[in-house]
């Protein structure tokens, strides 16, 4: 079970780009990197997933270096509504039960 390390919290201001880095030194060859977002009183929500290099969708980008021992979630131009906890998960793509949530990163976006 690949464990992850993320900063406990981050502060940002509206309109800024936010980069949250996650370390996963014991990532396995078959493991993918997935990021989830969680608002208070809600369940986690899928943001983005990748295996290597860069992945981009309508809400975020995910940068993964060649050694895959870390990854960076990039949120462009954050707003107050992006205040949430962000979890980096590493695991076999289809064995979701093997994902380790960790403590997540609490992002606080200020006006």
């Amino acid at each position: 079970l690949a464990k992850t390390t993320q900063p406990i919290s981050m502060d940002s201001y509206e309109g800024q780009e936010v980069n949250i880095t996650c370390s996963h030194n014991n990532i396995a060859t078959n493991d993918y990197i997935t990021w989830y977002q969680q608002f208070p009183s809600q369940g986690p929500r899928f943001i983005i997933q990748g295996y290597k290099t860069k992945v981009t969708n309508e809400v975020a980008s995910l940068f993964i270096p060649a050694d895959r021992k870390s990854s960076t979630l990039s949120l462009p131009r954050v707003s107050l509504s992006d205040t949430a906890v962000y979890y980096c998960l590493v695991g076999d793509n289809y064995n979701f039960n093997k994902f380790y949530f960790g403590s997540g990163t609490k992002l606080n976006v200020k006006p």
Binding site: Y32, T34, S41, Q42, G43, P44, R45, F46, Q49, Y87, N93, Y94, F96, N97, K98, F99, F101, G102, S103
Partner: protein
Amino acid sequence: EAGVTQFPSHSVIEKGQTVTLRCDPISGHDNLYWYRRVMGKEIKFLLHFVKESKQDESGMPNNRFLAERTGGTYSTLKVQPAELEDSGVYFCASRRDGHTEAFFGQGTRLTVV
């Protein structure tokens, strides 16, 4: 498309009582997962159903917890008898076969007093 629905949203019970949590996954999602977060701790896996079969129940804490998914549709998680340390938020998630994204419900907050 309706999302994953959990019922109740909150439950307060006394120690020693029984509580049953329910999860309705997204229609067509064969995979159903239960997770929980107890106070101050991380979200942890409890078990995984594929249709009506328990694929992996390695995360179930003890035999006071019983999960079922009769007919491969909705699932229930029963705690009997409840203990104080069972307090927390119980999440259910579902995933369609061949797809990587799992969808979570809003969770059931269980308080044992």
